[in-house]
Symmetry: D2
Subunit: 337 residues, 4 copies
């Protein structure tokens, strides 16, 4: 941590800050120019992150050089974490494709889509049972019945399943029926849920929040790892910007940045990122090239009658076309489907 003092801060102010740091157990290094004084602070992350020095007299700026996370960083673990769920794998050269509808609607819909996506190479089935909807008047999902239909369809097709957990109180029931627990964008900083998932032994798919920085995504993942659960897959799904042509702005540079900063696998959701069917295939291809370890794509057997996200759902032939040649693209990046 660097503490930049205001121009011409008094000796007393500087000493006051330094004394406080010492009494808290930190070491300091002073760098004094004619105008600016900078105090370097050295100590454990756990200590540094409880020091709120911005309130002290004479302090102009506090710059944290130490990241707010540790366990998720490449410094802590250099080699890739591989998350394995049944036959699906993410990270360390393994590339996984998750596909399925926005929401679970019926047994036929789920069984049909599961068989179809499995046939062309998907390695996991998705489907929402609990749906976060802006308006309380929109379809909220089938709940537990949906979980069961998802499980059943996954089993029938031989695919592990992932679904979103909306309410921390549902953690156990969702974990009972699903193989991977998805934390949606709106819950990325629901720290209580992250702590709960940290205690569980099910992989977590953590989606980036609509306005979450790269550092915040990693800090949220840190909550899960700190609890003891090492199986976290990060998911870039677009951030909110001024652009309205696309639903969100897909930040593929964040994918490349994650691959530098963390050992956790990173996948991309082009469906929610763009909200436009015709942009999904090029964004899937771009995600592979950017270094992603997988994809999560909305596929519906009949997008016209999808209960949500119709405009961004691929139908089965479109998904098949997307998957055609995917293995070659993945291989070009030194990975395998």
């Amino acid at each position: 941590m660097l503490i930049v003092m205001r121009d011409h801060a008094s000796l007393q102010e500087i000493e006051h800050v330094v004394d406080h740091l010492h009494s808290a157990g930190a070491e300091t290094h002073l760098s004094q120019g004619e105008v600016k004084t900078v105090i370097g602070v050295i100590g454990e992350r756990e200590l540094i992150y409880t020091l709120d020095m911005e309130g002290f007299a004479g302090v102009a700026e506090v710059i944290r050089v130490l990241k707010p996370y540790k366990l998720v960083g490449r410094d802590f673990q250099a080699e890739d974490t591989v998350v394995r769920v049944g036959s699906a794998e993410f990270g360390g050269g393994a590339f996984g494709v998750i596909a399925g509808p926005c929401s679970v609607e019926s047994s036929e819909q789920m069984r049909s889509v599961a068989a179809s996506v499995k046939a062309v190479g998907a390695s996991m089935l998705r489907g929402g049972a609990y749906k976060p909807r802006t308006s309380p008047y929109a379809f909220q999902g089938m709940g537990l019945d949906g979980l069961k239909l998802l499980r059943e369809a996954g089993d029938a097709a031989g695919l592990p399943v992932v679904t979103e957990i909306l309410d921390v109180r549902d953690a156990e029931v969702v974990a009972e029926w699903a193989d991977v627990l998805q934390v949606g964008a709106r819950n990325m900083q629901n720290f209580m849920m992250l702590e709960e998932l940290g205690k569980m032994r099910k992989p977590v798919l953590l989606k980036r929040g609509l306005s979450a920085t790269i550092e915040e995504v990693l800090s949220s993942a840190e909550y899960v790892l700190k609890g003891g659960n090492r199986d976290v897959i990060l998911c870039e799904r677009g951030i909110r910007t001024f652009e309205t042509y696309t639903r969100n702005t897909l930040d593929l540079a964040a994918v490349a940045a994650f691959k530098v900063l963390t050992h956790l696998p990173v996948i991309v959701d082009p469906s929610h990122a763009t909200g436009r069917r015709d942009l999904i295939a090029p964004m899937c291809r771009a995600a592979v090239a950017a270094g992603a370890d997988g994809l999560i794509v909305e596929v519906h057997p009949d997008p016209e009658h999808a209960k949500c996200d119709g405009p961004q759902s691929l139908d089965v032939p479109m998904f098949a076309a997307l998957m055609d040649g995917m293995d070659a693209r993945v291989a070009l990046e030194g990975k395998h489907l």
Copy 2:
């Protein structure tokens, strides 16, 4: 709802859309230009918001003219909702000032600040017992002990108290100790929590999410009202933008917009919005002039040693200076403290 068809959409595509709408129970009006066809859709909000027509062939754009909320709108209730908590009032001409530290730290701290802010005109005490922190290594709050200290300090000073609820499982215990339940920015779209609060009979202070639109704030409030709880106070606390000089960008036009769109009271949090002590007083004054029904301000007896948000906390003399003349400013807007 308006459905704009793609240029030269086929007759078949148009008919297909219209047929689907009719079978769902909606009425339609067709407007056909040479190039563009627009289908007007008429029906109840509950119906309209379950129609996801974007997925249909030939559809270029779906424009929802009907808002995703109803109960919170001025159309539904023209006169201001007044939220009363003990002697504190918000809305309908009443202006309330909530003050207190970011987090509850000790009995002395709370009692001292409660007495001080009460003395200069605050009408409610704030203090965080459960703190949402980006990093798992930062101070997370005192929990239940904090709740009790907050209650005790409020009672001693004769002030009702508000605190943030972080975990839906804590709803009852928080409601036991606090008079108003605060939903923080990160939980603004935690719909499960909103539904739970809708069932309770405690006023809710709903903070705008970091990247929430005005319409989304109102839709979240709708979740609470739909559950039967009419006592919701909205809070503008800054949105996330590219500007880094301030912690967030305070959107006072949203306050004026809320006053047009909803009957619910609206307050402003300049502390979290700016993150800078020297901008708080001017932003409080601007909030009053923009039409706000109240303020929530971080005040700490000793900001230097605050466990969080030091740089944005006022000390007691600063808060007293801010409150000096506040009654005249509030009166200028036709309201009263």
Copy 3:
């Protein structure tokens, strides 16, 4: 400037950076922790801002503590700059109100609006002769004829006039007809134009760019002052964010921040910021309370038939209502109309 080296940067890398700094004429202070080394760099702004050290091996981050501007800062000049244009004054306690239509359309329109706004307290007339329009198919303004009509209307009403300069080649002709030269949001970083205006002796009204930070606004103003022209009025007019209810997001905290950072007068344009007629009056009041030194408001004698910006133009009675009581509000902030 602080140069934070990567963890465990080699001694050779550190020395290489230090040597380069010394050979460039800067002084350095080294702060070496076990893990982190930080190099403090001391020198003149002109030197520091030509040092691009980010490219050196071993450098993790370069933090500039010295601002990219000097002449516009409070450090350089503590007392307020007062910009005087005829009887209109901005800054140092003087509050000016600029009013008029988005674009000059006819002699009658301009004379009518000039007389009307003057009658209720406006101190300057605005009107666009050259209009920046997103689409080449939209009305582009009357050009030189518009300038003449603006001048004529201002003279008739006894008001100085301000108009936007779109093309640096028009600088002289615009300066011939107008009293204040406005640099629009889209040209805030048209540095060639800023340099040209720096050589002139006409006050400049510099609007904040749609995505310009506070620091960038000040740096653009620095271009004008560096050229020798000290009469710059800054204008906050909303920034571009994800919110679409308002045309832009009015950043009133920036106004308060400008008042801390610079001695230049700061005014607010609520018309372009909100794009909504019903939000203009509350935002004018909030701007006064936030510490602004003036306002610029779109007023049209017949907004329905305005050639641009109709939805955000006040008609004359609305503007009169807004100005009613404005002197008392301005006086409350210790200023005068």
Copy 4:
């Protein structure tokens, strides 16, 4: 254009709007629900874009279905425009790579980098002679001398050259020395410059503004085409968002969207988009996969001593590594280097 009237707008208000539209030469279609009335407006783009109906009484919203551009759209010209500059080609299956330093610094630097990038497959040389810099204290470029060195180096290596034009008054001199005229992000809405370039017969490289929407980029390109110059290359270079880890947020979905909406070639600038050397190669690969028709990359023979943008410049071996295998990636998308 659709005009949505306010709920329960009066018959008189509706008639007033319709009458005005008819008198302006537009046709109308009325769609009247019980609550909502929507007026469809039909007419030429030139007419529609001069109708500002938002100011009329009773109007709630005006929705423009017709795009603000025409000539750049796929509707107007379905097949790809191919921009040819010497041996370099962009569009229609041709993929071009532009490389070179941020700014021209010396003859040796330019000749060295030109030969190096040519050797590994670059098809055009870039180099800034006029540099837009936030601070007036930063290096502003070599001007005319820089232009000459750029030309000389390009000729020596057999590469056409592109450079930024900062001042409309320099249009002729820049056109004399450069093959392609670059409009930088800050000038994307410098409409006077766009009009001037529309009259010239040199290809234009138009960079997306920091906060420009996809529609605004296309509208700016329309200015150039409307003037008669059909050779415009669009360039995605990142937009400004809240994320600070990268310099800007590269919007690759915009590239895919441009390919749908316009026939103009689209290239990507990963250097300015990310500002980080280690993200450039993955973003180049992602750009190819997203459908880009080319790249523009900063390459410096000695990034440490670059006068600007050092941290985002590749050195020659890094660029060579990036180009290695580029032809196969381009071929995978059905294009050729």
